[in-house]
């Protein structure tokens, strides 16, 4: 019963004209930038964030989140029609979506994509509604010691689960934590690593770090790419009649969609994995259970339905750790958490009980947003295709313009534009050396919270650091984190001990 009254509260919040308008706006922007290869939801949310300062915090988050999940819908459109994934998480969709489109069934592929995405999201939202409050309830019993341990575990997991070099990711996390220190220490008032710049008193701007490392660095990398020419879009029959699946298709697709949703909801809730990994895993699962795996890659409809359900489910499930613990699992969540903090909302286990209208309103708005996307997408595809084919040489100055004014508008200060510039150069150089910038932002957001909880734990324990091992929950989480760090070390250590490169 309580759940129903909470959902009713959510509808009350999400059904105001303002909330609906910004939800719609966020979804539209998200679809467009998601479809455009090169501008991800990350950069867009960073640019949009300072623009939402005048809004009510709930409405601001509704819009910013709409950009995130809207981008998943948009990204798959360019994957299917152009074989050019708009966002990384929709890359798998191109494997079967593009062959389907080539064989003249583009409309059908887009229809499956929209419906599977909607199913994945809707079910996953229910999962969030069920689990987030329960997890928050447990976490409310945590004191600062456990909270510190959860953050350590979250960061380590984000580094080691996602793939790539865990060592490099750990270096990036620590770098982010260090960046988070910059500014005035709230306890002693000491200026830390500000080098005499008064503008750094409040710390480095999250938006500058995000836009520099993701926006500027990415554009520089794209410019060196092989072809700058607009991708040729195919002439596709996009009438409604071409989209509707037959009864046989439907009976073939509902199971893959549900499997994709299950994979996506589980993976999405883990830190570090996110929608891209979820989509890949869902695709692999379908291939494994299929009677005829050879069909995959040649236009199997399941190859579109499962990963699309999975990446959209993962996007929603990622809100579980973010909203129930205040610990972001990936970069976009880190930015959204940063947005909450900037709007004066305190994230953490107490969030759901302190701000029930905001929590339930957000979840209901996600569902409304997905409904909007389901209907918005199909008629807008023609327009989208024309926008996707805008070449990079026109797009790049436009994006840089938004990055410049976006950084400026945080504090109406050109200092932040220079900070963005520095992080852009740094981000590009790090990317060249094989370092991914995503963990930097996770560390940057969690750094101040970690320090505060470490300080409190030590005060309560009268300076005895063994408190972290004496409390069972904290010891378990730190032990798990240690295990995650040590596991990937197994092979190289054996190699070094044997004294020769294998």
């Amino acid at each position: 019963m309580e759940l129903l009254s909470n959902i009713a509260l959510g509808f009350e919040t999400a059904f105001t004209a303002e909330a609906l308008f910004y939800c719609f706006l966020g979804c539209c922007i998200g679809t467009f930038v998601g479809a455009l290869p090169g501008i991800g939801p990350m950069v867009t949310i960073s640019v949009a964030l300072p623009l939402t300062f005048g809004l009510d915090p709930t409405v601001a988050l509704i819009m910013l989140a709409g950009i995130f999940y809207g981008a998943q819908y948009g990204g798959s459109i360019s994957s299917i029609l152009l074989n050019l994934p708009g966002t990384a998480s929709t890359a798998v969709t191109a494997l079967d979506g593009y062959p389907l489109a080539q064989s003249g069934r583009a409309g059908f592929a887009l229809f499956i994509n929209a419906v599977a995405s909607f199913c994945g999201s809707s079910i996953s939202i229910l999962v969030v509604m069920a689990f987030a409050p329960a997890i928050a309830e447990i976490a409310l019993r945590f004191n600062s010691t456990e909270y510190f341990a959860v953050m350590v575990l979250g960061l380590v997991a984000a580094c080691t689960i996602g793939g790539g070099s865990p060592l490099k990711s750990l270096i990036m996390v620590v770098f982010g934590l260090i960046l988070g220190i910059v500014g005035m220490d709230i306890n002693s008032g000491a200026m830390r690593y500000t080098f005499g710049f008064l503008e750094l008193t409040d710390g480095i701007s999250l938006i500058s770090v995000a836009m520099g490392m993701f926006g500027v660095a990415e554009i520089v990398r794209k410019m060196a790419g092989p072809s700058q020419d607009a991708p040729k879009s195919m002439v596709a029959d996009l009438s409604l009649a071409s989209m509707l699946p037959s009864r046989k298709d439907l009976s073939l697709l509902w199971l893959p969609t549900l499997r994709g949703t299950a994979v996506g909801s589980m993976i999405g809730a883990l830190p570090g994995a996110g929608p891209t990994v979820a989509a890949f895993m869902a695709y692999a699962t379908e291939k494994k259970v299929a009677r005829d795996p050879a069909r995959f890659g040649k236009g199997a409809p399941e190859g579109v339905a499962a990963p699309e359900a999975a990446n959209n489910a993962a996007v929603q499930a990622a809100f579980i750790p973010t909203l129930s613990l205040g610990i972001p699992g990936d970069v976009v969540m880190a930015i959204l958490l940063g947005a909450m903090i900037m709007h004066g909302v305190v994230p953490g286990p107490q969030f759901i009980s302190n701000e029930p209208a905001m929590f339930w309103g957000l979840l209901v708005s996600f569902w409304l947003g997905n409904l909007i996307l389901l209907f918005l997408n199909l008629p807008l595809i023609g327009l989208l295709v024309r926008i996707i084919t805008v070449p990079g040489r026109i797009l790049h100055p436009v994006v840089i313009f938004f990055i410049c004014l976006g950084s400026y508008s945080v504090a109406n200060n050109v200092f932040d534009v220079f900070v963005t510039l520095i992080f852009g150069v740094l981000g590009y150089l790090l990317m060249r050396r094989g370092f991914h910038p995503a963990p930097v932002l996770l560390g940057f957001i969690l750094g101040p919270m970690m320090e505060e909880n470490l300080r409190r734990s030590l005060v309560i324990a009268r300076g005895d650091p063994s408190v972290f091992l004496e409390r069972p929950a904290s010891a378990a989480m730190l032990g798990l984190a240690l295990l995650l760090v040590l596991l990937p070390l197994r092979k190289p250590v054996v190699r070094i001990l044997r004294g020769r490169p294998s």
């Binding site: 270096i171 306890n187 060196a224 436009v398 109406n412 470490l454 300080r455 030590l458 005060v459």
Partner: protein, 153 residues
């Protein structure tokens, strides 16, 4: 093993270790406090130490050859200059000239040919967006062209 070492990689490891040491130095300067009451330098000190350890660890990590995309120093230089020009010109001269300088520099970074008409179109479009969205609606305290150089009578 030593013969195949990658010099750039080793230098980069040293940069990371150096950065860690620098953070440690800053932490010590800030006062570490006691375990009962940690000072502002305690957390940075720990992180700096961690950074040094990770940097040492990186020495031993095998590097895979990626070599996927080429270095884009021209792009990096021009785009950096574009952001710097925008930041320097924005307040003293105005939004419009700053935007124009920025666009021209970004376009200079592109390896592809781009017609002057297209460039003019981009600039005009961004002027419109800048003025209507950022100045008129969002009320950023910016002038299209600074009244210092284009006095309004």
């Amino acid at each position: 093993m030593l013969r195949n070492r990658n010099v750039a990689h080793d230098a980069f490891c040293l940069v990371i270790i150096g950065f860690g040491l620098f953070v440690i130095y800053g932490g010590i300067e800030l006062s570490i406090g006691s375990m009962r009451r940690i000072g502002p330098g305690f957390f940075p000190l720990g992180l700096g130490g961690l950074m040094v350890l990770l940097g040492i660890g990186l020495f031993f990590e095998r590097q895979e050859d990626k070599g996927e995309d080429t270095r884009n120093l021209r792009g990096l230089f021009c785009v950096s200059l574009a952001l710097a020009a925008f930041a320097v010109l924005l307040e003293p001269i105005g939004l419009f000239p700053a935007t124009m300088a920025m666009v021209l520099l970004v376009v200079a970074a592109e390896p592809d040919h781009i017609t002057p008409l297209t460039v003019a179109g981009i600039i005009a479009g961004l002027w419109a967006v800048g003025y209507f969205l950022f100045v008129a609606v969002l009320r950023l305290p910016l002038e299209p062209i600074s009244s210092d150089i284009w006095p309004v009578f």
